[in-house]
């Protein structure tokens, strides 16, 4: 890991606070940055991420929108096209479906359709994931959908440090960026450097080095994979855990290098297993020379082929957990228990 200077090492904050700090820094530095979304003003956002920003920056820059996702996202796209730098918060990532038209047909394609003459530097923030008992329409992990759309960038921070750095990087990016934040991570705390820094878009990060197995995971699954990796130590399995960080663009080099080293690959993600991030990464390996290094079939662990259920035990069973990740690893070593 990077050397940390003693002063900044003491600087810890929550994932939500880190995102807020990034927004405040950006707003102080650039009057073109505006926040838009439902109940982001006095309410502070459904997950309190924008708490108190309206007091600091006023309602002209922290704009509560009516409940109008298609219109709200579209207004953000139009404003981005013409000089503002909007950060549009979807109250839940599930509601991006109401704005699909503006995200996919407009934001993603405008630069290309206009032959490079236009830019849409909009940032969409999307609280995502299951585990809150909010059932099928408030718990989805749909980030992979947007991986299929040329023109978009799709990020997934797993730590407070990355949550801040990715938002600042997204704002610095000239194209539309979607950041899928995990609801269960908002209160998690970690080291966050002071000031402005950019987490590079499209760079995965090896969170844990290992020799026997590569686990590629994103968002909260990084934490579950790291925990699973610890339990595997006692069984003589050394797992390398890669935090994907960016779904689009995807970091081929880091993944392939790790697979060449370990000879085994497991991809862990919260979206539905079929047609997901795992398919893309598996194909990436299968199409490359890293395929020759594989000592076992590739394993994908994703969500059950069902909407996210309400019942807490069903909900838990529907997505990968620490124990299922560890069990998956054992399967790759034919150590079924």
């Amino acid at each position: 890991m990077n050397a940390i200077n003693p002063e900044t090492a003491l600087r810890t904050m929550s994932y939500a606070e880190a995102i807020r700090e990034a927004m405040a820094l950006a707003m102080e530095a650039d009057p073109a940055v505006v926040l838009m979304g439902e109940d982001i003003g006095v309410y502070g956002g459904a997950f309190q991420v924008t708490l108190d920003l309206i007091e600091r920056f006023g309602p002209d820059r922290v704009m509560d929108t009516p409940i109008s996702e298609l219109g709200g996202a579209g207004v953000a796209v139009g404003a981005a096209l013409t000089g503002l730098k909007p950060i549009y918060e979807f109250q839940f990532s599930d509601f991006a479906m109401l704005a699909m038209e503006q995200i996919v047909n407009q934001a993603a394609k405008l630069r290309y359709m206009l032959g490079g003459e236009a830019a849409v530097p909009v940032v969409f923030r999307l609280p995502s994931g299951s585990g809150t008992g909010a059932a099928a329409q408030h718990s989805q992990s749909i980030e992979a959908w947007f991986g299929h759309v040329p023109g978009l960038k799709v990020l997934q921070p797993s730590t407070p440090e990355d949550a801040k750095g990715m938002l600042l990087a997204a704002l610095a990016d000239p194209d539309p960026v979607m950041i899928f934040e995990h609801k269960l991570l908002y209160k998690t705390r970690g080291h966050v450097p002071a000031g402005r820094y950019l987490t590079p878009i499209g760079k995965a990060l090896v969170r844990r080095t290992g020799t026997d197995l590569t686990i590629v995971a994103g968002s909260i699954m990084v934490h579950r994979a790291l925990e699973a990796a610890e339990t595997l130590v006692a069984e003589g399995i050394s797992a390398e855990v890669i935090d994907l960080r960016s779904i689009r663009p995807i970091d081929h080099a880091t993944i392939l290098a790790s697979v060449r080293k370990t000879g085994r690959l497991m991809v862990v993600y919260e979206g539905v297993k079929a047609f997901g991030v795992g398919a893309e990464i598996s194909a990436l390996v299968a199409e490359s020379d890293a395929f020759d290094y594989l000592d076992a079939p590739i394993l994908r662990l994703g969500a059950a082929d069902a909407p996210v259920p309400y019942n807490p035990d069903l909900e838990r069973a529907a997505v990968p957990q620490v124990d299922t990740i560890a069990a998956g690893a054992r399967r790759l070593f034919r150590r079924e228990v």
């Binding site: 409940i67 109008s68 008992g133 059932a135 069902a306 909407p307 309400y310 035990d313």
Partner: protein
């Protein structure tokens, strides 16, 4: 010479037994939601929930003339609609407890509470999600030659979704038997309707879709019943949709995580003084449809039904974890 009947519309129009049943269901809604809140506080129910306490007249008076064949579409704040339409509180609690005996077999929870057999097509996690669905239900009734109507509940916040406008337009051009009932409780989460909506009344939107629109005191049972009565008659006569706006107020926060930063205690208290249940009960007593002892018995019955419902839910089996993909497709 016959004396003019100066009783409120509902009391002139419905039989005493039906009125007492309406009061019973309003008490049931109130006690059910208090019970659900209590179970949530005690950790027996997880997730979140949206309580409609204070809005019971809107739910109940809008359902007075509906049969089980008539449909409703409901919202995330849908417990009241579900009970008003005739659901069993035991099965509702079972759903909240995530049990297999719940209305959605533990898959849906509060936000998706439904009772398809009594015509409740479901609460909805998506604001505005029910509006086009209601129009589709009305289209079915018309094409299949049935007399059924659909009552579509939605909030003031939902009127700013595109789905609202698209749905009202289609209902109007095809003259479909649907009644749009807007429960304007002044806020969509924290956002005041007066800020988020360009027109002063949601019912003003009706003009854009060439249908009648009316705004009534949503805490006045009889006023709601009268407005919805006329709208339903129009719908059943093939004259098309209407929009009824019930002005009301939710006493509780938006959901379980609301800190009420956007409204004052005084405002909440002012609205609590306009309790729709107390007002309806006073009307019934004043016009001799009920005496105090009768009212007390109805209230006590609701308490007992809720207690029994919780017990039913607790004793019910949970879904089997191996069945996580059950109900995704037809079996």
């Amino acid at each position: 010479m016959a004396k003019a009947d100066n009783r409120p519309f509902a009391l002139r129009t419905y039989a005493p037994e039906k009125l007492r049943e309406a009061l019973r269901r309003m008490y049931l809604i109130r006690r059910f939601e208090e019970g659900a809140e209590d179970c949530y506080m005690r950790g027996l129910i997880h997730g979140t929930m949206h309580l409609s306490i204070g809005q019971e007249a809107s739910a109940m008076a809008s359902c007075m003339e509906l049969t089980d064949a008539d449909k409703i579409t409901s919202t995330h704040r849908g417990h009241g609609h579900c009970i008003a339409k005739g659901a069993n509180v035991g099965r509702m609690f079972a759903e909240f407890f995530g049990k297999e005996t719940g209305y959605c077999h533990g898959r849906g929870g509060s936000m998706h509470i439904a009772d398809v057999k009594t015509g409740n097509l479901g609460a909805n996690g998506i604001v505005g999600g029910g509006l086009p669905i209601a129009v589709g239900a009305a289209l079915s009734a018309k094409r299949l030659g049935k007399p059924d109507v659909t009552v579509c509940f939605f909030g003031d916040g939902a009127n700013n979704e595109g789905a609202f406008h698209e749905a009202l337009n289609m209902a109007a051009i095809w003259k479909l038997p649907v009644v749009f009932v807007c429960e304007n409780n002044r806020y969509g989460m924290s956002t005041p309707a007066s800020y988020a909506t360009a027109v002063p009344n949601i019912s003003d939107r009706a003009a854009a879709y060439a249908m009648p629109g009316i705004t009534v005191d949503g805490n006045d049972f009889s006023a709601v019943a009268e407005a919805v009565h006329h709208a339903i008659r129009r719908a059943r006569n093939g004259e098309g949709p209407s929009l009824v706006e019930n002005l009301t107020y939710r006493w509780r926060g938006h959901s379980k995580s609301d800190r009420n930063r956007y409204r004052t205690k005084e405002e909440i208290e002012e609205w609590m003084a306009r309790d729709p249940i107390a007002r309806f009960q006073a009307d019934l007593i004043a016009h001799g449809i009920l005496d105090q002892a009768g009212a007390d018995a109805i209230a006590a019955e609701a308490v007992a039904a809720v207690a029994a419902g919780v017990e039913f839910a607790k004793a019910s089996p949970a879904p089997d974890i191996s069945e996580v993909t059950r109900y995704v497709h037809a079996e």
